[in-house]
């Protein structure tokens, strides 16, 4: 039992990460990052490789995006639940979340290179084709369709006048009851005829177009309200704007508190975080729907957002553990963070290992069980060929092994062991993201199950994004104190007992 | 102030637990033993209005089952003979035997003899005698050695599991169709050549092929080796394509 620690024993302005200490590493990261980025850019410039590279880039991007998203989530959760334990590590969460604005830079290829997004999200190309085809069709068929319609109206007119005269003649000798019935019939016929001959029913370019689109690709036509370029661009920008605002606001409060120690900032962060959580949920869900689920626009799962969220929270916690240990090895945070923190972080990882398994099992299970054609294709693709091995690997290595490892208290409280599990978890998350993105590539590009050699692109893209982000992350660590040094809960946190 | 609970109460829970476990095990055993048709049905031997002795009529006189149960091959139900069937002989034979009084009485009044039904499947079971007989399930498989019974009793449990045992592995019970009513048939008595010739005919196969395939499968060398039930049943099952229903709708409709 250690004695009670007081904030007074800690340095007043917290600990600042001295990036000079790691300048070698930083330099390496930077040069590797730049070199690989240039290589990626070259590949992107090559017309032939662009589509293949698009998937690699998306995979790399989405992996780091989920990590940063997790950082934001933990910050939000920490503030919203009024939690005390995590104050000591909260700044790390904030810094991780702060990568979100940077990720927009890495997302630029999707926005600026039409071929890249076209290769990834086929609905864009198909939709364009569908529309232009429908336009052509409408332009060329307007006359014939109008003629057809006029012919139809003529026929209907003839038939209508026949029916009307028949009814009117019947009316003469009908009983009152029959009269009412005949009148009703006549009204209905008149209404139907009026509707047919009205100007609204006349075929226009728009109506022919809509009809033709519906005929040629009903799914894409129906989804047009969501899957169209204008809205897509809007969402794309909105996600990053919202996420950036959220994290910058929260981190701003936290950093400013370092200076003035104002308790009100804690209260404000807490209140705002509660409100931000629903926003976060919506953005996360639709971001992954847009970027991952829409890799195949015919497929859908209501669980999708939750599934990605689970993996994101889990792997970002693993990253936090690794960064924390790294910093402690460099001599920082020694007085602030104890094994108790590791224990809690280990427990949270454990919880999310289970949660991830729960969500992914439910999703797989329900689709497998009901066996409905339009839903199974996602898993069919991932159970074909070697992807099946990856799927089984995920079950065993993303759930069973870390689950059993984290069951033991020793693993959760020993930084070295917990780091091993964290590394493992991150590796698994990489495979998970790879498993989500890459299987779509072969079939989409018409290159079979696997595009040969494309794995080099994947590695390259991953290195490029990873190295540059790591560089930015490490640098951002150095900007402010490594823990919120004037947070009113800091004392509670450093005296944490499980 | 002493202990509220006496000292012996310390061991009481353990003892009680032991007793409960023993009791529970005993109840489980008793239920497993008693709560099954092997206990509840087997051995049911009601006294019939007429003490009809199957052993005399079948073994001693050599009557065929179908003399009385005339339509068992054609009907789902194996009929109990009418009084007239009894009377065919007993109008003369053993005429004055008091045991036969109900027969005479029935003959005079036209009121049927109220034979007590022994084998009585539940009403939601639709058992069909004719199909079983047509595919070589002998009377004896379900009704026991009736030819040796002085008074008929329930010899087999007739539980659903017992039915399914055969439906899942019919080869253990099939025999050539001509021997269905021969209650003393044994597979060892079967002549291999006749058997294979008949079976090949029935199935529309070539005798040599059938024999060759079976020789490989059942591993007999000489034609005069005694046949086993495994061989007889296995060949028949294949040749006739016997695949009894195992789903619910097979017997419950």
């Amino acid at each position: 039992m250690s004695a009670h620690k007081s904030v007074k024993d800690l340095p007043e302005d917290g600990e600042k990460f001295d990036i000079k200490k790691v300048s070698k590493l930083l330099g390496m990261l930077f040069s590797v990052g730049i070199l690989t980025t240039i290589a990626c850019a070259v590949i992107f410039l090559n017309q032939e490789w662009r589509a293949t590279m698009a998937y690699s880039w998306l995979f790399a991007f989405i992996f780091f995006f989920t990590l940063a998203l997790g950082g934001l989530f933990w910050t939000l959760l920490h503030n919203a639940t009024n939690s005390g334990w995590g104050v000591a590590v909260r700044r790390l969460m904030e810094n991780l979340g702060l990568m979100l604005p940077w990720l927009f830079v890495f997302a630029l290829p999707f926005v600026v290179i039409p071929d890249v997004r076209g290769a990834l999200w086929e609905w864009m190309g198909e939709r364009r084709e569908m529309i232009s085809e429908a336009e052509d069709y409408a332009a060329s068929h307007l006359e014939t369709e109008t003629a057809e319609w006029e012919e139809k109206v003529r026929e209907a007119r003839a038939r209508f006048s026949e029916v009307r005269s028949g009814i009117e003649s019947g009316m003469a000798k009908a009983t009152p009851g029959e009269k009412a019935f005949l009148q009703e019939k006549l009204d209905a016929e008149t209404a139907a005829f009026d509707a047919l001959k009205s100007e609204d029913a006349a075929p226009t370019v728009e109506s022919i177009k809509a009809h033709h689109m519906k005929e040629s690709n009903v799914l894409l036509y129906n989804k047009g309200g969501f899957l169209n370029m204008g809205f897509w661009f809007f969402r794309f920008i909105a996600y990053f704007v919202i996420l950036t605002l959220l994290i910058r606001f929260l981190r701003g409060l936290s950093v400013r508190q370092d200076a003035d120690g104002d308790e009100k900032r804690t209260m404000l962060a807490r209140r705002m975080s509660c409100g931000f959580l629903p926003l976060f949920a919506v953005v996360t869900t639709f971001a992954v729907i847009d970027w991952l689920m829409c890799l195949d626009y015919t497929w859908f799962s209501t669980m999708w957002g939750v599934y990605l969220f689970a993996g994101s929270a889990l792997s970002s916690m693993a990253v936090l553990v690794l960064v924390l240990t790294y910093l402690r090895n460099l001599g920082y945070l020694r007085d602030v963070v104890t094994e108790e923190h590791y224990h809690i972080m280990g427990k949270l990882m454990h919880a999310f290992v289970i949660f991830w398994a729960y969500i992914s099992f439910s999703q797989y299970f329900l689709i497998w069980y009901a066996n409905i054609t339009e839903e199974t294709r996602f898993f069919l693709m991932r159970n074909t060929g070697h992807w099946n091995t990856v799927s089984i690997l995920l079950v065993v290595c993303h759930f069973f092994i870390p689950f059993l490892a984290l069951l033991q208290k020793r693993v959760k409280t020993t930084p070295r062991l917990l780091c091993a599990v964290s590394l493992w978890m991150i590796a698994m998350h990489i495979i998970d993201m790879y498993w989500i993105v890459i299987p779509e590539r072969g079939p989409s590009l018409g290159a079979g199950v696997v595009v040969p050699g494309a794995i080099f692109f994947d590695v390259l893209a991953f290195t490029a994004v990873g190295a540059l982000l790591a560089y930015i992350f490490l640098r951002s660590l150095g900007k402010d104190s490594l823990y919120p040094c004037r947070d009113p809960r800091l004392e509670e946190s450093i005296n944490l007992m499980n | 102030m002493g202990n509220f609970f006496p000292r012996w109460s310390n061991l009481l829970p353990l003892k009680l637990a032991f007793c409960l476990v023993v009791l529970g095990l005993a109840v489980a055993c008793a239920m497993a033993y008693y709560f099954t048709p092997k206990y509840t049905r087997v051995g049911y031997m009601p006294s019939q209005p007429v003490a009809f002795d199957h052993s005399i009529h079948v073994t001693q006189l050599g009557l065929d089952c179908r003399y009385c149960h005339s339509f068992v091959e054609e009907s789902p139900h194996s009929n109990v003979p009418t009084t007239q069937t009894c009377y065919n002989c007993h109008s003369v034979v053993q005429k004055d035997n008091p045991k036969l009084a109900p027969v005479h009485e029935s003959m005079e009044t036209g009121e049927p003899i109220h034979w007590v039904q022994i084998h009585q499947p539940p009403d939601y079971v639709f058992f069909n005698h004719s199909v079983h007989i047509a595919r070589g399930v002998s009377c004896q498989r379900c009704h026991g050695q009736v030819d040796e019974m002085e008074t008929v009793y329930h010899a087999e449990p007739h539980s659903m599991g017992w039915c399914l045992n055969c439906h899942r592995a019919p080869e253990k019970h099939l025999r050539p169709q001509r021997e269905v009513f021969n209650l003393t048939w044994k597979p060892e008595d079967e002549d291999r050549e006749t058997f294979y010739r008949e079976t090949a005919d029935l199935a529309g196969l070539s005798y040599e092929e059938l024999l060759g395939a079976s020789r490989e499968k059942f591993g007999f060398e000489e034609m005069d080796e005694p046949m086993s039930q495994r061989e007889v049943g296995g060949v028949l099952k294949e040749a006739w394509g016997v695949s009894p229903p195992e789903g619910c709708a097979g017997c419950h409709r």
Binding site: N222, Y358, S362, I372 | -
Partner: protein, 469 residues
């Protein structure tokens, strides 16, 4: 650590700044806690107890009557028929099972998360769980018609040589619900043991001491015992947490594994779980707010508790809302005609649209008022929202079950379902039974975990006061 002098009035105003609120107000001593909680059991019951108990007894009698009537006459007295074979019966089952989730959840998840405010409410919530699961069990058991054949659900070798279909969600239900009940009983009982010892030690020799003593197992509070006990309790909590999730997930599988439009959605498991927690917490509050007033437990079940639970209701209500929206979005986005029509008929054109709007209002809109602190601190508002949620969760199950079954693929097979008086009385009766059990629990067992509450007092920390030296 704040000092322990906060009074109820101060607590009403809510926390000032970031200071932690004490879990027990007015600086109560351990002895006071023992006296107050055990007093509920030992003293005469207030008049209100009887006022509530007698009607609930009568309603429980109604339940018994309805069940006897049902069995003696046949399941036809319920309004179930094709196509809606799962009417109120299964709606009520899912409703009660959902209610039954809060107890173990409060106990287990909050325990794992070291949320120490759980101590004041976990006992009652766990008891509620058990009674709710009992109520839930009634419906499927009687829905099968011949309940005495329920043993067919257990994998016992039998003379029929057939086995249960382990691929059926209905069988998983059997395992999940019975496991949940058993584990909840164990969890509840294990938590009760030290408190039973407390009452035992306060009893005069006699029949009461005999009974409490027997169930207290001779508990002596030795640390060598606490060591295993605490570990066991932690493990049970760790086991119960996924169990709670699994139970309602399995219940959701009953629907989601099918191919029926409106039922087959991958988000069903977490959505059902969130809904269950949502409804369960509402029910806990519905019971605990009156109970704390009747027995004067305001210092133990403080505004902080109500506030926290209101927040959880807000959170889970929002998750449920998220699921509703996702369902709608995917029904539209997925492009499956049957799926989108199912929702069209739930919301716009079917015979049960009112139910959908009731559900949406009660479950998604009404809890949003908890964004405001004044609402969380006004017990009348809290009660009103909880009532809304209780009703809303019932509507949700009704909407899922009945609207879907009444309108499936083939319009020729569409039907309309209306509950009979027997179904309605049975449902009403389960409320009586539930309340009766709960009142008996209040009467005979400590409603708050005595030992655990003492454990969260500041002076229970062995280092309490260390820093002053």
């Amino acid at each position: 650590m704040p000092n322990g002098t906060t009074t109820a009035d101060e607590a009403m105003k809510g926390p000032q700044g970031v200071a932690r609120e004490p879990l027990v107000l007015n600086n109560r001593s351990m002895n006071w806690i023992t006296e107050r909680i055990c007093g509920v059991v030992e003293n005469r019951q207030p008049l209100l107890w009887w006022v509530l108990f007698l009607p609930s007894l009568a309603l429980a009698g109604l339940l018994a009557f309805c069940l006897v009537y049902l069995v003696s006459t046949g399941v036809g007295v319920w309004g179930n028929n094709q196509p809606v074979a799962w009417g109120w019966a299964i709606t009520n089952f899912v409703f009660w099972i959902g209610i039954g989730h809060a107890g173990t959840l409060i106990s287990a998840i909050l325990f794992l998360m070291r949320q120490r405010w759980r101590t004041s409410i976990n006992r009652a919530a766990e008891a509620m769980t058990l009674f709710a699961v009992m109520c839930a069990g009634i419906f499927p058991v009687f829905h099968v018609g011949r309940f005495w054949m329920a043993w067919f659900l257990a994998p016992i070798p039998n003379a029929n040589a057939i086995w249960q279909n382990f691929k059926s969600p209905l069988l998983w239900d059997v395992f999940a619900v019975s496991t949940y009940f058993i584990v909840s009983v164990i969890f509840w009982y294990l938590g009760l043991v030290p408190d039973l010892a407390t009452i035992r030690d306060r009893c005069k020799p006699g029949i009461k001491k005999l009974l409490y003593g027997m169930f207290a197992l001779g508990w002596r509070g030795g640390n060598r015992h606490w060591r295993h006990y605490e570990m066991g309790y932690l493990l049970l909590a760790a086991l119960s947490t996924p169990l709670v999730l699994s139970v309602h997930s399995v219940v959701s599988f009953d629907f989601a594994t099918s191919v029926v439009p409106g039922w087959h959605t991958t988000i069903f498991p977490p959505y059902f779980v969130a809904g269950a927690i949502f409804g369960g917490f509402a029910m806990v509050l519905t019971l605990m707010i009156p109970a704390r007033a009747i027995y004067g437990l305001q210092d133990l079940i403080t505004h902080k508790h109500v506030d926290n639970m209101a927040k959880i209701i807000l959170l889970t209500g929002s998750i449920v809302g998220y699921a509703y929206i996702m369902e709608l979005f995917i029904a539209w986005y997925g492009g499956n005609k049957f799926e989108s029509d199912a929702f069209h008929m739930r919301i716009l054109s079917g015979p049960y649209t009112t139910y959908y709007y009731c559900m949406f209002f009660c479950n998604v809109i009404s809890p949003q008022i908890f964004w405001f602190r004044w609402a969380r601190h006004n017990l009348w508002v809290v009660m009103a929202v909880c009532m809304c949620v209780n009703a809303g969760m019932w509507f949700e199950r009704f909407v899922i079950i009945v609207t879907t079954l009444a309108r499936d693929f083939v319009p020729g097979a569409w039907g309309f379902y209306k509950a009979t008086w027997v179904e309605k009385s049975t449902f009403l009766g389960t409320f009586g039974f539930f309340l009766m059990c709960f009142l008996l629990f209040l009467r005979f067992l400590p409603v708050i975990a005595v030992g655990e509450v003492k454990g969260v007092l500041p002076e229970s920390n062995p280092h309490h006061g260390d820093d002053e030296h």
